[in-house]
Amino acid sequence: MEHFIEITDVSFGYEDIPVIENVSLDIFERDFLLLIGPNGGGKTTLLKLILGIIKPWSGSIRILGDVTGRLGYVPQFASFNRNFPISALEMVLTGCISPQNFLKRYTKDDMEKAEMILEKVNLHDKRHENVKDLSGGQIQKVLIARALISEPVVLLLDEPTASIDITSKTSLLDFLNKLNEKMTIVVVTHDPTPFTLTYRHIACLNKNLYFHEKGELDAHILEYVYGCPVELLGHGIPHTILKKH
């Protein structure tokens, strides 16, 4: 498999305090990468670096091919302005805004695409409802739909399972799995358990980064990264992402 995103020796911080240091990470095409670590460990920061929202202090981030406008970003659930009245459909439409078209009206093509994607995430009947009146799981789907409308080659999700219930979690995972057939998926989370069956690689980030193949994640490394013993067991069928001891 080819390297799709190459992050080399990247450091970044806010004001003078470094948040991530000398992070190197290769993301493959159609990878399903889990980025885990404690709060404040720099997970969201690394996503923002990949998206180009912030520029690294040092090091480089290379994305192969022309991906302008095709990085799908699903920010944290609570990050948008709930105070702003907007319908689900309109919110999804904002996903196709780019520096090239933000002075023009939405095209018919954009509208059709937005309707189609809302149908795909089973929210078509809610398309005219105000986003803030939707449930947590539905808002999460709107955020994903907004990212998908730009036909991304990689989908970067920040804490997608926070504040949604178990049923929504399961359908979200199925949906991500399906998407993974066509695109690279990077999930930032502090709770990797729901993803144990689906992920391909896992990276622990707490200022520094530790990269693992599936199944080789070791409790000692996690303890080191989190600074305390960590339990990593799934529900139901006893699938664990810990290596057998």
Binding site: I53, P75, N81, N83, F84, P85, L103, K104
Partner: protein, 304 residues
């Protein structure tokens, strides 16, 4: 006539006209003929035109101010205008020009502040602006203008020049909102996402603050420095009770702005009350009524 001569800015100039009119008309209430009469006065025409245009401006920019939580920024901008008014008076130029210069300068400063410290510095600009105004008005020799006019506005003193300036400001505010609508909405809805989409977020934010500044310049004539905030927020609050669609909120804000301005103007005329305060009070009462009615009806729904 040069702008800002003492005569055109002095209330008695217009009160004289108003009083004469009342003596001849006998009854104050004569329906359409009364409106015809009242609108035949140039100062009334100017007031009505300025009120309508100000409402349109409010309807365009107000919803952004409310949803983007820029009310404090707006308060800061309008109060720094007082410094410009004072200096303009001292220099003997039209106060509106001084206000415009100061508000735009303040917008430039506020737009470049880092988010963490913006609250603090807006507060400081607010107070310093007012202080500068007080000092310069105090230093102006001879006739000292009525401070109340600046602080609480007097739409009845709008001249034809003011109407034309307001018309220009109307286009300066509304055209960019038409052109950059998608960009402004993206930034108001989700700034971080707009950044990820590579939109010029900083420029859009700056642009929005400049538009707020220009709106404030217009509104100062209508309701004065202190009451500007109310005209930017009350129509939006009323509209927000009726719709959850941003474009419809803009439209409804314009309608309610016009209703509030014109009924406030009439109230001020009949009861000889200050126009700015009348406009705001009508707005406040209308909002309370609508909110109250809404609460009552939802209460009834839940109890039945």
């Amino acid at each position: 006539m040069p702008c800002g001569t003492v005569r055109s800015w002095h209330p008695s100039y217009y009160f004289e006209k108003t009083l004469t009119y009342r003596n001849y008309s006998g009854s104050r209430f004569r329906g359409s003929r009364f409106m015809e009469n009242i609108l035949s006065y140039e100062f009334m025409q100017n007031a009505v035109l300025t009120g309508i245009m100000a409402s349109v401006i409010c309807g365009f920019i107000g919803p952004f101010i409310v949803t983007k939580r820029m009310v404090f920024i707006s308060g800061g901008l309008s109060h720094t205008a007082f410094g410009g008014l004072g200096i303009a008076y001292w220099l003997g130029v039209k106060p509106l020009y001084g206000a415009t210069a100061f508000v735009l300068l303040a917008a430039g400063i506020i737009g470049n502040l880092e988010e963490k410290i913006s609250d603090l510095f807006i507060g400081i600009l607010w107070a310093v602006g007012v202080a500068v105004g007080i000092i310069f008005i105090h230093m102006t020799p001879g006739y000292t203008p009525d401070l109340m006019t600046f602080l609480f506005g007097n739409i009845l003193m709008a001249s034809r020049t003011d109407v034309i300036i307001t018309l220009i400001l109307l286009f300066l505010v509304t055209l960019p909102i038409f052109i950059f609508y998608k960009g402004f909405v993206s930034v108001a809805l989700d700034e971080e996402y707009a950044r990820a989409r590579q939109l010029p977020v900083k420029a859009l934010n700056m642009g929005l603050i400049v538009l707020v500044a220009l709106s404030i310049v217009t509104l100062i004539q209508v309701v004065g420095i202190i009451l500007v905030i109310a005209l930017l927020t009350i129509p939006v609050a009323i509209a927000g009770e009726m719709s959850m669609n941003f474009k419809r909120i803009m439209l409804l804000s314009i309608v309610f702005g016009i209703v509030i301005c014109l009924s406030g103007l009439s109230l001020s005329y009949f009861l000889e009350l200050p126009s700015g305060a009348s406009i705001i009070l009508i707005g406040g009462m209308l909002l309370t009524l609508i909110k109250g009615a809404k609460k009552l009806s939802s209460h009834r729904k839940t109890t039945v």
